[in-house]
């Protein structure tokens, strides 16, 4: 099977512009081979290169005394007491889930788990943020049920508890659901391992499952809109095997602790290509890989397919040259294959051979760093500005109690117990506050402190006013974490937007990021990394702008965590902060007036900071029996949740 000739159509099919192709030819001094074209297509896709978002991401605050590792590695890391540290990240698996919800979501969970344990951290919590179209449509129900079951089956089998997340429904997600998975892991700070290849002569090995044709074009596929045409070009669906993942997790942690290896990385989007190229570039070294040595699952795979395959549950390891036998022994203990496929070189080249012939030879650093960066135009869609200025014509007059019942009955506000009861939330016997409260809280065995975890995003606010919406997203996550008594420490983010090549979408992205940056600075919660997912569009249009934030908080005493449900009769009820006439983007207008518009609440970051301080101090002094954030749905819904949220008894309220 000879490789196809490089033609403009083939280049275009690989989502590379003519300028990008010209830059490649100039870099190589020749026409690229077919595998090389595949490599550039994957590494220079939006998903891997962040070429439209990098300039904006640079405006985020990323430093602070608590930051051990900021953006640039597989996961961000924050410092905890007693020499401990927490590694965490959130990633999207939107397009694969739209094609096959069960496997798309399951492999999303698998990938984010690997990003965390590749840092040397033991995963201790999973969260997921999901968005679907309205549930009165059969396809949306199918996607919703499949995604929840996929995440549950995977996380439950690997034995990592799900401690939180969120689910929301809006017409904007009908053709393009959002599936964002977050993982949190703990490690001793001294055991942190970075994914930078080094040491000339050190050996590259693949560990875990064999390579098949799963997800080929996965990376570039994620960077293009879902069209009817993409159904035809559907890549082989990636299938996850959580059982192999559990073995891979234990083997990887054992390898990292064993000192036999110098670097390790998950083979995620763009598989072997991205992992090997990124590790080489970070370490400033070259690598040489013999593709014929890569263990494959299907006969007759070509170099192109082996390089780009996104088969799951595979890691790339750089072992010390004299420790290959020991590395293979550890893998064998966990019934895993470990196959040497190449070595680290000092010529800075990224080289691959196939049956003795060189098929790829690209300057390593340029491959990863010379991808062009774009500065697209940003202009607000006038229709949104008009919507922001308008109010509902005449909200049907609802008696307060009827309005509250209507809100509690709406899918976005209603209890998500049906969802999170399918996830094991108590495995690892460390769950202090399970899902359903403001934030999940876990303890670290034999330590006093606790970790609070939460994901949040109010996409209605962001759609109507991206800057205020960005601020509100960080503020809400911080409030939720602080309600449990935990001090907000830092965030990861998953920025889900439409096509950046559209001015209206890039305006939403730029402004939302500006809001997130301001809020993170004000609340002292630096950005430690994350993921950008553009091109979330479908024939019905772009999804609502959904910059999801994953927040980590620290509780000095886990046994002083504050739950959100009412505890016993006679307790006094306070409302902190003042209530302003701000109904823009509210669930009330949406449910009772069928209107999503108006000016969303403006966030006063100083007030938010003082509120967080009050909540944390109050909890430390054991003043609060429970605390709950007032968010989507307003005060009435918040009080109902506090009364009904208790595990056993239904308590009521007497309020003025």
């Amino acid at each position: 099977m000879t490789d196809p000739k490089i033609t403009p159509e083939l280049v275009q099919e690989h989502n590379l512009t003519s300028e990008e192709y010209a830059r490649i030819v100039a870099m190589l001094g020749r026409t690229p081979t077919f595998p090389e074209l595949g490599i550039f297509s994957a590494l220079w896709s939006e998903h891997c290169s962040y070429k439209h978002s990098r300039p904006i991401l640079k405006t985020f605050p990323t430093t602070g005394p608590q930051v051990v590792q900021g953006p640039g590695e597989n996961a961000g890391v924050l410092r905890l007491p007693g020499g401990w540290a927490v590694a965490f990240k959130i990633e999207s698996h939107n397009h694969p889930s739209a094609v096959e919800p069960y496997q798309g979501a399951a492999t999303g969970a698998g990938g984010i788990l690997r990003d965390v344990f590749t840092m040397g951290a033991r995963p201790v919590a999973l969260l997921n943020s999901l968005r679907f179209g309205p549930l009165d449509d059969g396809r949306n129900r199918y996607l919703f049920a499949g995604v929840v079951r996929g995440i549950g089956d995977y996380g439950n089998c690997v034995g990592v508890p799900t401690l939180g997340g969120e689910v929301d429904f809006a017409p904007g997600y009908a053709g393009n659901p959002l599936v964002n998975a977050m993982c949190v892991g703990v490690l001793k700070e001294k055991d942190l391992i970075k994914a930078a290849a080094h040491g000339v002569g050190n050996v590259l090995l693949t560990i875990g499952s064999r390579t098949g044709r799963d997800g080929i074009h996965g990376a570039s596929f994620a960077s293009e809109e879902l069209t009817h045409e993409s159904d035809k070009r559907r890549p082989q669906v990636q299938v996850g095997d959580p059982f192999t993942e559990k073995l891979l997790l234990e083997a990887s942690l054992e390898l990292i602790a064993s000192d036999h290896i110098v670097a390790i990385q998950d083979m995620g989007a763009a598989g072997l290509t991205s992992s090997s190229a990124e590790m080489a570039a970070r370490g400033g070294v070259g690598v040489e890989i013999d593709l014929s040595k890569v263990p494959t699952r299907e006969p007759g795979m070509t170099p192109y397919e082996i390089l780009l395959s996104e088969s799951q549950e595979r890691m790339l390891v750089v072992a010390k040259a004299d420790r290959v036998k020991e590395v293979r022994a550890i893998a064998a203990k966990w019934d895993l294959d470990a196959t040497p496929i190449g070595k680290v070189t000092d010529d800075g080249m990224y080289r691959c051979t196939w049956q003795g012939k060189v098929v790829v030879e690209i300057p390593g650093r340029q491959l990863v760093e010379d991808c062009p960066v774009y500065y697209p135009e940003a202009k607000e869609d006038p229709a949104v500005a008009k919507l922001r200025a308008s109010t509902p014509h005449a909200a049907r007059s609802y008696a307060p109690s009827d309005a509250l019942l209507a809100l509690l009955d709406s899918a976005s506000v209603a209890s998500k117990k049906w969802v999170f009861e399918q996830y094991d939330s108590t495995v690892q016997a460390s769950t202090v506050i399970p899902p359903g409260g403001d934030a999940g809280v876990l303890r670290v065995r034999h330590e006093d402190f606790g970790i609070a975890v939460k994901t949040d995003c109010n996409s209605r606010y962001v759609r109507l006013d991206p800057y205020e919406g960005g601020k509100a997203t960080v503020a809400e996550a911080a409030r939720n974490v602080a309600c449990t008594g935990a001090r907000p420490l830092g965030i990861t983010d998953c920025l889900n937007f439409g096509s950046p090549e559209r001015a209206a979408v890039f305006y939403q992205f730029r402004e939302a990021c500006r809001g997130i940056a301001d809020a993170c600075r004000a609340l002292g919660t630096p950005v430690t990394g994350g993921n950008v997912s553009f091109y979330n569009e479908s024939p019905t249009g772009a999804v609502d702008p959904t910059p999801v934030v994953g927040m980590i908080g620290l509780l000095t005493r886990a046994d002083r965590a504050v739950p959100s449900h009412a505890r016993s009769p006679g307790d006094a009820v306070f409302v902190f902060g003042d209530t302003r006439a701000e109904l823009g983007g509210s669930a009330y207008w949406e449910v009772c007036a069928d209107f999503v518009g108006g000016q969303p609440p403006r966030v006063n970051l100083e007030d938010e900071k003082r509120l967080v301080d009050l909540l944390v101090t109050g909890a430390e002094r054991s003043l609060f029996r429970s605390a709950h954030d007032c968010s989507h749905g307003g005060l009435g819904v918040a009080l109902a949740e506090v009364a009904m949220g208790g595990p056993y008894q239904e308590l009521g309220f007497g309020l003025d």
Binding site: D153, C157, F420, D424, S425, T426, A429, V432
Partner: protein, 238 residues
């Protein structure tokens, strides 16, 4: 101090939790890898929860053929204490060490929530320190927890008092006679679906599960039940 062997299969994920719970109750607990055949002089063996072999084919169907099961079977035949928690319970049924089988939950969904169960039998190594009829709140987390047995076996279980735990107020998975845990005729092998190791300290929401592990120590210690509160107190310092 009892020697408690916690067996680890590829895919077990509650082994560390179970080891800690046994140690918190004062036992000398240690891991035994599924490929070993020596239980190292164990007084009791615990098969922890998890997804041994990914639960492929049937939960526990493959794990029961691990080399360690030969030693566990010999230990059980000799009257030694054996506890199977969740996946461990499924493995003991597949291996024929306990009657009946665990099948897909009636509503076909994985279920993770606290449930109420009643202690129906206290003459087993793992329930000796509970009061008979005591109602406990313990977490369950399973997709295949529906206990089934043919009518004759079911009748024997009830007649011989081999039902150890029974769901009360709600049967989460459609189990026969609301059964949540059983023991064998010899009363030394016990299988339960709920996870006591996840509910053995106040910080985790309650300690109803602690006595499953304390029973082992109490049953063999000379103390009478009254001392348990002291043991309970010490145990709380986890």
């Amino acid at each position: 101090m009892q020697r408690v062997a916690v067996v680890v299969f590829p895919g077990s994920n509650c082994d560390a939790d179970t080891l800690d719970a046994a140690r918190a109750a004062g036992s000398d607990a240690y891991y035994v890898w599924h490929k070993d055949t020596d239980l190292q002089r164990a007084d009791a063996v615990i098969l922890p929860g998890g997804f041994s072999y990914g639960d492929y084919l049937r939960s526990g169907a493959i794990a029961r053929f691990s080399p360690v099961l030969r030693a566990v079977t010999a230990h059980a035949r000799a009257g030694g204490a054996v506890l199977g928690i969740c996946n461990g319970f499924q493995i003991l049924c597949e291996a024929g060490l306990l009657p009946g089988a665990l099948m897909r939950n009636a509503r076909l969904k994985f279920l993770s929530r606290p449930v109420r169960v009643r202690v129906e039998a206290t003459d087993t190594p793992f329930t000796a320190s509970y009061e008979r009829g005591a109602e406990l709140t313990l977490p369950i987390a399973h997709g295949d927890g529906r206990y089934v047995a043919d009518s004759q076996t079911a009748a024997e279980l009830e007649a011989n008092g081999q039902v150890v735990l029974r769901y009360v107020t709600e049967n989460p998975n459609g189990s026969l006679h609301d059964i949540s845990g059983v023991c064998n005729a010899g009363r030394n092998v016990v299988g339960i679906m709920p996870h006591p190791e996840r509910r053995n300290a106040q910080v985790l929401g309650g300690q109803d599960g602690a006595r499953v592990f304390l029973s082992l120590e109490a049953r063999n210690a000379t103390q009478h039940v009254g001392d348990l509160r002291a043991v309970d107190g010490r145990h709380l310092r986890v």
